[in-house]
């Protein structure tokens, strides 16, 4: 039995997303990380458009467009400008070495698929098989945030996590209602601006974007 073309494309996109999530976890260069983030947005946007086509959900076209505009063009451009202005293109230091992180990542994916199993059985969407991948990319982004030392990769991890959640929303329910999606997009955009302001504040104060400077406030024993 062969699946219809649209299903095959959706599955392909889901696999690509997982691949990109792993690529982000293993990526050492900040500029490539931004490109990967843009690519993730593009895959997400294509996926949403294909789902819209296959299920005749007109509002999904809109959210595909929103994703394209926000996550493929606006946010990567903003981030790119930021690292240009801050003049940072260094290699990223990680807390764990990359192979170990990848191994942890595999465990994370298995957990995600197990967690998603009962939920995806309930979802009646054509995309439900990709729910596990959505959860895996959320958790992998989380892993990336934990293992990175610099502020910029942490923020990219944060944005990638939002991408994963968006993908989860499309695969479980064909996307959230329009008002909510617009609100989320606005929050993400404003959030990125604030992160940008923050980078300058951190750099001005500490002469570096290494967040180990930000570990002074602790409970003293």
């Amino acid at each position: 039995m062969t699946l219809p073309l649209s299903h095959q494309i959706i599955n392909l996109m889901a696999c690509l997303l997982l691949l990109i999530a792993f690529a982000m976890v293993s990526q050492r260069r900040i500029l490539r990380l931004i490109y990967l983030f843009a690519l993730q947005g593009l895959v997400l946007s294509i996926n949403t458009a294909v789902v819209a086509l296959a299920t005749h959900q007109p509002h999904l076209y809109f959210s595909a467009g929103l994703t394209l505009g926000l996550k493929v063009v606006a946010l990567p451009w903003l981030l790119h400008r930021l690292i240009d202005r801050l003049n940072i293109r260094w290699d990223i230091e990680t807390l764990l070495n990359i192979p170990t992180t990848m191994l942890v990542g595999i465990v994370v994916v298995i957990i995600a698929f197990n967690l998603a199993l009962p939920i995806s059985q309930l979802a009646g969407t054509i995309t439900r098989s990709s729910l596990g991948i959505a959860m895996a990319s959320v958790l992998l982004s989380f892993l990336m945030m934990i293992t990175r030392r610099k502020a910029v990769p942490q923020v990219i991890g944060f944005l990638a996590m939002e991408n994963g959640l968006f993908f989860a929303a499309t695969s479980a329910t064909y996307g959230m209602p329009m008002v909510v999606e617009l609100g989320i997009a606005l929050d993400v955009l404003v959030g990125t601006f604030i992160f940008g302001i923050f980078f300058f504040q951190i750099r001005e104060t500490f002469d570096s974007l290494d967040i180990h400077h930000l570990e002074k406030l602790k409970e003293k024993a």
Binding site: P118, F158, P177, V179, I184
Partner: protein, 483 residues
């Protein structure tokens, strides 16, 4: 209808006006008067709900019932009194050269934006918009926490941003799962996230999905409530931000986040027919009370001390709502009110005390009562009130919660009592040393804004002595809704 438009429109307009003129000398007055107008609008809304009962507005986008109108009134009231306090406080800060005019503009504009997002979170009927508003409330306050641009301030703000951002992302996933379950019953589209619709069909929602959803929602919004072990951002953000912001974070934002948890709990309870949500909340609540109480005695910074006290009290309220039942929910709502009023009053007094002595370190604040008896007594009375000494209102609500716990969850009572005892010892000894003894305090260039402190404490005292029948009626209606 018109009242809702005013309650939401006024702070939004104020935010825009203050974004333009927030650096002018009269901006502090504009901030306070716009907050007063918001308070009047919310009073009108409250009067309407009391006389006409729950209502929805604008194609059911907004929903007001006894539960949220009471929080709207509280939010608008504390928002106004904090603006009065901030009028004097921020002037002193500016004259001491701690803040430039441009930052004052940011502060004023964001203060009103923050009020707007909290009111939106309370009034919206859409569970998704509730999430959007909660996230927006984080975004509005994050630059306020780092307003002084000190290394510690920036670190606190970064921590606040990342932790609450990640936390609230969990809540978004929970909301997606809720939508997945709702869509099965209500069909896709806008209505499936409307709380009133969800409430009507709650017993048909898929229980497995909802129980997973509630875990994510509790962890997500619980981060903002400051529940242990998700509380790490809270003491830092309270200690490093300007004091008016500490007052509204503690007095209002934590309440609004807890409101989000409780709204979702009502749905989950209906769908599950079990006590899972309540048990989870009791667990988190009790852990917060105990852990926070033991951290109190180790604090050296006065604002951190009261931040941990907020974690403790949010734990008590979460525990009360977790127990459920008419009495516990009633007590939880009463405690929300009394804690919010008392804690903001304490922060007002602490703010002036810190300005007078030029430090937030407890050991360096001494003898407040000599230079300014009013600030000293304000802090002392506030601390006595928050520690649950009769006749203040906090005693009444804690007493109700403890007696209910003895009947329903006897095992938890000794833990709660021990934690309250530890908290008493820690806070009382520290505050006593700050208030009495040889002084280190100096006079302020402006007379301190003490009216808000004593008005709040007076209300807390009145609530302890006598709860007016209409207010009790109102709490009871809200408690019935919560279940």
């Amino acid at each position: 209808m018109i009242e809702i438009a005013l309650v939401l429109g006024l702070p939004l307009t104020a935010a825009l006006l203050l974004a333009l003129w927030g650096n002018r000398p009269w901006a502090t007055d504009l901030n306070a008067s716009m907050s007063l107008l918001t308070l009047l609008a919310s009073a009108a809304l409250t009067a309407r709900i009391i006389s006409l009962g729950p209502m929805t507005a604008w194609r059911e986008l907004f929903f007001v019932d006894a539960f949220n109108v009471f929080l709207v009134a509280l939010t608008a009231f504390v928002g106004f009194t904090t603006a009065l306090f901030s009028r004097i406080y921020m002037r002193v800060e500016q004259e001491r050269g701690k803040l430039s005019a441009a930052r004052l503009r940011l502060y004023h504009s964001m203060y009103q934006t923050f009020t707007f997002t909290m009111l939106l979170a309370l009034l919206t009927n859409n569970v998704g918009i509730l999430w959007v508003a909660m996230e927006a409330a984080t975004l509005a306050t994050v630059l306020l926490v780092s307003l002084y641009r000190t290394p510690a301030g920036i670190e606190a703000a970064w921590k606040y941003f990342i932790l609450c951002g990640v936390g609230i992302a969990q809540a978004l996933f929970g909301t997606i799962l809720l939508y997945l379950a709702a869509e099965k019953v209500l069909g896709a589209g806008g209505t499936a996230l409307l709380w009133t619709h969800l409430h009507a069909v709650q017993d048909q929602l898929e229980p497995n999905v909802l129980s997973i959803a509630f875990v994510f929602l509790l962890v997500g919004y619980g981060t903002k409530v400051g529940l242990v072990p998700l509380h790490n951002w809270l003491p830092d953000a309270h200690a490093e931000g300007p004091t008016p912001i500490s007052a509204v974070l503690s007095g209002l934002l934590l309440n609004v986040a807890l409101y989000a948890v409780v709204r979702n709990k009502v749905l989950v309870d209906g769908a599950l027919g079990s006590h899972l949500a309540g048990n989870l909340m009791m667990g988190f609540g009790l852990l917060s009370v105990v852990v926070a109480a033991f951290f109190l005695s180790r604090q050296k910074d006065v604002k951190r001390l009261f931040a941990y006290s907020s974690i403790e009290h949010m734990g008590i309220i979460t525990f009360a709502f977790g127990m459920g039942g008419p009495v516990a929910s009633f007590a939880g709502l009463l405690h929300m009110t009394t804690h919010s009023l008392t804690k903001s009053a304490i922060f007002f007094a602490v703010g002036h005390a810190a300005q007078k002595t030029g430090t937030q370190v407890i050991d360096h604040i001494r003898g407040l009562i000599q230079t300014s008896p009013a600030v000293g007594w304000g802090l002392m009375l506030g601390s006595i009130a928050i520690l649950g000494i009769p006749p203040f209102g906090v005693f009444a609500s804690e007493f109700l919660i403890l007696t209910t716990a003895m009947q329903q969850q006897p095992w938890a009572t000794p833990l709660l009592l021990a934690a309250l005892g530890v908290a008493f010892a820690a806070i009382f000894s520290k505050v006593q040393a700050m208030v009495f003894g040889e002084t280190t305090a100096q006079r302020l260039p402006h007379p301190p804004a003490l009216l808000p402190v004593f008005v709040h404490l007076l209300f807390v005292l009145l609530l302890g002595l006598y709860i007016p029948p209409y207010l009790a009626q109102w709490y009871r209606a809200a408690a019935r809704m919560i279940g």
